[in-house]
Subunit: 429 residues, 4 copies
Amino acid sequence: MNYSNQHTDMSVFENLESSVRSYSRSFPTIFERAKGHELWDVNGNSYIDFFAGAGALNYGHNHSDMQERLIEYIQSDGLLHSLDMATGPRAEFLQTFHDVILEPRGMDYKVMFPGPTGTNTVESALKIARKVTGREKVVTFTNAFHGMTIGALSVTGNAFKRHGAGIPLTYSMAMPYDDYMDGFDSLNYLEKMIEDDGSGIDLPAAVILETVQGEGGINAASFEWLKKVEELCQRHGIFLIIDDVQAGCGRTGTFFSFEKAGISPDVICLSKSISGSGLPMAITLIKPDYDQWGPGEHNGTFRGNNLAFVTASEALKYWKSEEFSTSIQKKSEIFQKRLHEFVESYPELEGEVRGRGLMLGIASEKPGLSGQIAERAFAGGLIVETSGPDDEVLKFLPPLIIDEEAITKGLDIIEDSIKAVLGKEEAKV
Amino acid sequence: MNYSNQHTDMSVFENLESSVRSYSRSFPTIFERAKGHELWDVNGNSYIDFFAGAGALNYGHNHSDMQERLIEYIQSDGLLHSLDMATGPRAEFLQTFHDVILEPRGMDYKVMFPGPTGTNTVESALKIARKVTGREKVVTFTNAFHGMTIGALSVTGNAFKRHGAGIPLTYSMAMPYDDYMDGFDSLNYLEKMIEDDGSGIDLPAAVILETVQGEGGINAASFEWLKKVEELCQRHGIFLIIDDVQAGCGRTGTFFSFEKAGISPDVICLSKSISGSGLPMAITLIKPDYDQWGPGEHNGTFRGNNLAFVTASEALKYWKSEEFSTSIQKKSEIFQKRLHEFVESYPELEGEVRGRGLMLGIASEKPGLSGQIAERAFAGGLIVETSGPDDEVLKFLPPLIIDEEAITKGLDIIEDSIKAVLGKEEAKV
Amino acid sequence: MNYSNQHTDMSVFENLESSVRSYSRSFPTIFERAKGHELWDVNGNSYIDFFAGAGALNYGHNHSDMQERLIEYIQSDGLLHSLDMATGPRAEFLQTFHDVILEPRGMDYKVMFPGPTGTNTVESALKIARKVTGREKVVTFTNAFHGMTIGALSVTGNAFKRHGAGIPLTYSMAMPYDDYMDGFDSLNYLEKMIEDDGSGIDLPAAVILETVQGEGGINAASFEWLKKVEELCQRHGIFLIIDDVQAGCGRTGTFFSFEKAGISPDVICLSKSISGSGLPMAITLIKPDYDQWGPGEHNGTFRGNNLAFVTASEALKYWKSEEFSTSIQKKSEIFQKRLHEFVESYPELEGEVRGRGLMLGIASEKPGLSGQIAERAFAGGLIVETSGPDDEVLKFLPPLIIDEEAITKGLDIIEDSIKAVLGKEEAKV
Amino acid sequence: MNYSNQHTDMSVFENLESSVRSYSRSFPTIFERAKGHELWDVNGNSYIDFFAGAGALNYGHNHSDMQERLIEYIQSDGLLHSLDMATGPRAEFLQTFHDVILEPRGMDYKVMFPGPTGTNTVESALKIARKVTGREKVVTFTNAFHGMTIGALSVTGNAFKRHGAGIPLTYSMAMPYDDYMDGFDSLNYLEKMIEDDGSGIDLPAAVILETVQGEGGINAASFEWLKKVEELCQRHGIFLIIDDVQAGCGRTGTFFSFEKAGISPDVICLSKSISGSGLPMAITLIKPDYDQWGPGEHNGTFRGNNLAFVTASEALKYWKSEEFSTSIQKKSEIFQKRLHEFVESYPELEGEVRGRGLMLGIASEKPGLSGQIAERAFAGGLIVETSGPDDEVLKFLPPLIIDEEAITKGLDIIEDSIKAVLGKEEAKV
């Protein structure tokens, strides 16, 4: 059917959908199609994508090979929905993930399908850490974002989202992330709080963290800090859970975001881009010794989203060589160079460049400024969002497959938007 | 690709997947394709489906119209993943759901997309009830099942699944479901506990319930009981949340399971078959006055699974007339008649027929018996599972589009399995 | 000093004390002295005591022997405050309690001094039950009252008092007390909820109960029910905690309230009348196997109130023979006979006689009536209070040493008050 | 009676009392009498008191005037136990406390009697803060000690004591106390965590703190830090609760420990020495605007310990002039001078002098050393205990009425004990 003829304005959303809707407010148009790093709306406008489905579209929109695989599979009457029964695509994914990702990295993990979303994998990770250790509390960090169900929300920092719980969120202990305050060694502090028997901080079941915090404002922990966190966890029998939902799947330049830190998390959470195509999927990786689940002790209806498995295996082809990883690094450099130029050229931004790989941002100390730039950029044909507790960070998450030309074009729109918002004459948007 | 050539035994699951896997243990074969009410495995065996993806496949597998819509949409480069941005399929679903489901029933609700799974919609329902009432506790019922994330698990009854939380589950107060004990008016009891200022039961934010409990053992509440629960809730300003994830979408004979009870829940949870195709999707219906969310106060990466929206709108065509509903009722009668015959013919079962519509079961007081019948039935070419706290209920959830011939064939397999398990000579399976 | 000259009206309380004060509102006079079952205020009015310090003065006010012991001890420069250091009075109490109470009853318990109040002993009981079982939840009963600190308040039923916590009270599961609803076997229900793996009721660490609920409305559990609760607890490894703070120390006719039920609780809480004189004191009795505390794992500044120990040992002399117990039973019969006459003679009361021993009450279904009778009785020279969730029970807790003449005189005042409140002409008060 | 004849060894405690007993292990003798700063055991040994009932005996043992008042009151048949009914001693205390303590300091507070122990006043403080603010979480500090009931224990730091709860302790957020880590501005950190909407630290109902932490290791917060905490609280509508149970009643040199900090707490907790005599008593001071209790919303059997009121009023006489305060300061200087000499003379102690007023300590980095000194000192005739998470602090809490000669004598015993433990030849003990 031709949806575009049916719906050409936003009224249906305004009238029928809950007030909780958010992105359709920031980007108030109906999107019709998308390919690679580009989207088109029903009015024929095109947009460069610096958003990538909040990190769920690392391989871009509608990759042709994936489309082909999907259509083949549908035409073969393959099972779309299979709970956690055995199907070809599930087997293929397990094998490919093992062969392409785990084995070459010397990683030994069991793969759990916890339900198809990021919050599902986080909940499963917290559950297994608590079950195995017999402890309840979890150390989380300032500006962490782990999900919206009660277990995951409890370890999330954002006050507005926490407030939505309607109940006190407990069992978590918020600690300062790397570089949280100038001149303050947050790791020393965490160590002392955990080791001091008088601190009031109970020995935790787990430490959960993102190596680069996305929603929290593009804060990248140093590899050294990560390594020290791991050592602290090991010393005390605390699970180290890496939530790689947004930073994983190549976003920071390597498949897992923590590879260069040389750490070996006890549990790893993956979702967003793991399906390759933006279809709902999540996995939880658990060290074999800790895979102490009883059959069905955690379950869920949509653990068997076979279309997602089909594209997930296809996406893993990108990781058969070093090439993809290298290309991300190269694009990151180009991107970062330009961002630094912005910060220097426009001191009114009071800006700071943040991030790693293609998970980048400019934090501005001027209240509201980043939001204005994003709004202006959208008008100019670029999709970009803000993050951070006060939406103070302009956040760049382009598809990893974006080409340099599009990066440049997108950043030109950003520069024009900066100029426009700062009131510089030469703004073109 | 041809998955069947790649994976022909269960070893990949045994070696690489977490021990939490469950259905691949009950049904230890690799499924290759499926259509309507039938599945085929890689060894060429066919199976009648009395399971329907635990209720996620009410319209059967791979409905041809839905397949066509999916392929068209993929080929048009339509957005697969869109968070909660505006797209044609999202608009189309909102409009169709309004026109076909809500308006004809005189129902006024805002539609929230809480993330694509049952536990997401339950978590969102609990959150909004708590936020609006300013209270924390929720009344839940014996043998309730609402999901596996901490918020939903707190209101779930099953001890094994609760244990998996690794933390004490609080904020819920378990009350006896309709007919929980012989000669005990559970509603009177609930009423007294809520109204008695000395009971120790705090005034709850909400009562959450399934009108027919699926995982809990196919317990159907009477419409009279449901009506009384609603009255109690209204009298005290308590939210009535109907979790129609499994019982909704026609499973009990009407689109919503509570239509014949004449009640008007404050919040309704739908998932499983709402997408029509088994693709992950969920919605939360909230009375407009209670839709007090701030933008983004609850969010999630996979709120915009457009393939699911495409098939969801297609599936709603079934509800444009009364015909589908009538057919379910008719099949239910056929089905129930035969189940009653089983119970009478095989008193060794110590069986009891339960359920409503095509959500049926035989509870057996003989420990382990239902599981043995299900296992035998699988060997005979039928997929059927058990439920209840002790897996004592043989649970029948055929696709609603199943034909009478298949029902009969499936029930023949059941009867043979019963005979075999009971040691009757004439068993053929 | 002569306090009576200094303070002759209530203004100092009205001006300087918190609004939380309560009994000085019900009994708005300044009490000057008291002896046995009688009190006098600064205006020279005398009052018969049917209240006994809410059960803390079972042996009456200012027992002459106890006064003598106190003065001797003070004059000897004995330690008043000793934490849990060793002192003569502490040793003497331990030995006497063992010799007079525990040994003759064949009871083997360790004595813990948990701090000098009822809520302290309850908190210590809950802690040891949870520590030893490794479980968290506790079954409590409708209309239970166990104290006002968060642990004890969590297992208390009263909504007004629970509300004062300011936080959701969790870890408790409220169950119906014996005879909670007509024709409802509350024990069967409890048993089913605990044994049903789908009930949503987690296996508890403990069941805590009062054998006669004081604050909850003078509800006396049958000995048969108590015995069955004990059996249920033993079958499942659940701690049985008897909170004998109000019903113990002879209040119901035997030293422990549960003696005639033939049960052997795992933990017993005593306070109120344990010091004999109304001085703050509490003990927790723990079966030796469960006395798994580390030194100082629970502590408190006022565990060594030696004046209380001095009178506590003195009070235990009452229990050296059966005489005291017999006298309580006899007075109870006299008391109950008259209460039944009231209920019959004044049907307008819609009254019901409740209780056991000298822990008695008349529950009236007429809202506010019991409070009016108590108020009138105070004007007539009798101190009596109400209890129950709606203050619907006129509660009689005379000192156990009261004589028959005073009982009669007090009950005459009650009868006059009933008449006055019901508008009968012959009322004299 | 003569207790000393009855009990001359520790066997009764070893056989009959719970394993939780602690001080009777550190000080294994039976104490017979005490006067001022001195105690005598049943074997005729005398001890100087540097412990003062853990701060409950600031005015020393058995003050003659207090003894006289107690005996007079007992002989007058005054009510010993009165719940919260009006009595002369209660009125007298309220008036005297107002006239001598509150009014001269320009302080306007309502007085609540929350039950007679420190943990009762802390629980009542937390309750009113939560009730008035409608928030649940409370900021507490490293090494805080507030009590052993669940509410108070939740805001206590000590891991061993927290473990005794048997449930996860929640609703509290532990923050670093003043000077917790070298070169770390703990107040800046607290401020940032509270003001940062992404920190994961929910806006608290209250901050609770001791100005000098007793059990936590004699850590004295600077007045500047206290003032800044107050400012932070006021800026955000957070209750400031000062737990002055141990540091109050003159212990640090002024009646309230915070007077010199110039702060005005919203709620103040007093217990321990408030009765003057070591008899159980506690009060909670609440700013009139926040005194939003309903009558009886918090209650307790032993809120009317009249013997304690009698001596409490007597004790307040010390505060009618500046003299007492001045004398404490002077003794503190003498005491501190000598402690500094110890640290300098015995570098093997690796000692640090801590504290304020007569709440002093020497922290030693040598594991176990402080405990050995205390043990040796007891053998030498001095009662002194250790505190801190690892019992690393030798804690000095002499009665405030101690004379200089006794201070010197006590410190001589300490010095001898240090020498003995360090293996110096000249040790005399």
